[in-house]
């Protein structure tokens, strides 16, 4: 199987994918003061992994992040988001924003919004790991697996 693309694409991907990842994290963490949020940031962070898979091939990308690590971060993100919801019980109820009354941050600064900032971070982890893992799983099936029009028993 061909291992990725021409050297121009490989060098450009090597330079650019780090910037894309940082941009995705920025969009997710400043979701409460400018457009974006955890979902958009997570998809952008997954797009940097997609770029590595496209430019270098799947085997090289698996040295950076393996599918089992993606599963771990995916479940961790979902579990932590649920934990934020449950910790709110100490302040009154499910999903109560318990940080805002404690620290009165000003509107428009980075450390405002209470649990919104923390929730954006966990959603970023969850969406990015989920989509990167799904793309790594789909990347194993790049070529059509069978000769032309010849169905084979798979079970």
């Amino acid at each position: 199987m061909s291992q990725g693309m021409t050297p121009i694409v490989k060098n450009t991907a090597r330079l650019v994918s780090g910037f894309i990842a940082v941009f995705g994290i920025y969009i997710a963490l400043t979701g409460h003061i400018s457009p974006g949020g955890g979902f958009a940031g997570g998809v952008i962070l997954a797009a940097s992994v997609v770029l590595i898979v496209l430019a270098f091939g799947r085997e090289t990308a698996e040295r950076i992040i393996t599918p089992s690590q993606c599963h771990l971060w995916d479940a961790a993100g979902a579990g932590l988001f649920l934990a934020v919801a449950l910790v709110g019980y100490f302040a009154g109820g499910f999903f109560v924003n318990f940080i805002t009354p404690i620290s009165k941050g000003q509107v428009g600064k980075l450390f405002s919004g209470g649990t919104i900032l923390v929730s954006n971070l966990f959603i970023l982890i969850k969406v990015a790991a989920g989509l990167a893992g799904a793309f790594l799983a789909l990347a194993a099936f790049r070529r059509a697996g069978l000769p032309d029009g010849h169905p084979k028993e798979v079970c």
Partner: protein
């Protein structure tokens, strides 16, 4: 007045792109046409005052295009659609026309009041009258800065006022990714067993 014309033109472009995507014979052409429709949609989102949605739609469209092109470009398919006959095409067009007419009457209403508020005047903050249910969005817009501390009202709605719904949506994303793993997993297991057998 200007934004309605631009939105109308972009929607016309999206309609033509959707028609090409659905009717083209070559699978790669139809996938590229759906990409064009998605990018036009993101510009429409930007014009309608939704920059979060424009960012999300652009990135999601890019990844969906990558997935679909990788699916289509190496798998050669010799499907030939059945030649369409006049009766079938006529029935489909008739059904489509009837549905559009029904939608027109539902939207603009017979004699004034339609089902959807007219374009440009959303149901924001009415108190409850007998005809129109009360809206909560005016309260969200006015109070989100002091109650939640977030400047972005959409994020405040998504993660503070309606955080329970966001938990449900995160669960749906989780389940669909799990479904992708489950559909693709059997091949990997079989490959390992083929390697261990001599």
């Amino acid at each position: 007045m200007g934004v309605e014309y631009i939105v109308l033109m972009l929607l016309g472009f999206m309609l033509i792109a959707a028609l090409i995507a659905v009717e083209a014979d070559d699978l790669l052409s139809s996938v590229i046409a759906i990409g064009a429709a998605g990018f036009a949609l993101s510009v429409v989102f930007l014009l309608l005052g939704a920059p979060d949605l424009a960012i999300t739609q652009v990135v999601v469209e890019t990844i969906a295009l990558v997935l679909l092109i990788r699916l289509v470009v190496t798998r050669h398919d010799t499907t030939s659609e059945m030649p369409r006959d006049a009766l079938r095409t006529g029935l489909v067009l008739l059904a489509g026309g009837l549905l559009l007419a029904g939608a027109f009457f539902a939207i603009s209403g017979i004699g004034g009041k339609g089902a959807i508020p007219p374009f440009g005047e959303p149901v924001l903050g009415h108190k409850a009258t007998d005809a129109v249910p009360p809206g909560v969005s005016a309260d969200y817009l006015a109070n989100s800065a002091e109650e939640t501390g977030a400047a972005n009202a959409v994020m405040a709605v998504l993660l503070d006022y309606r955080a329970y719904d966001t938990l449900g949506e995160a669960t749906i994303i989780f389940v669909s990714i799990l479904g992708t793993y489950a559909v693709l997993r059997r091949f990997g297991r079989r490959k390992k067993s083929q390697e261990t057998e001599p």
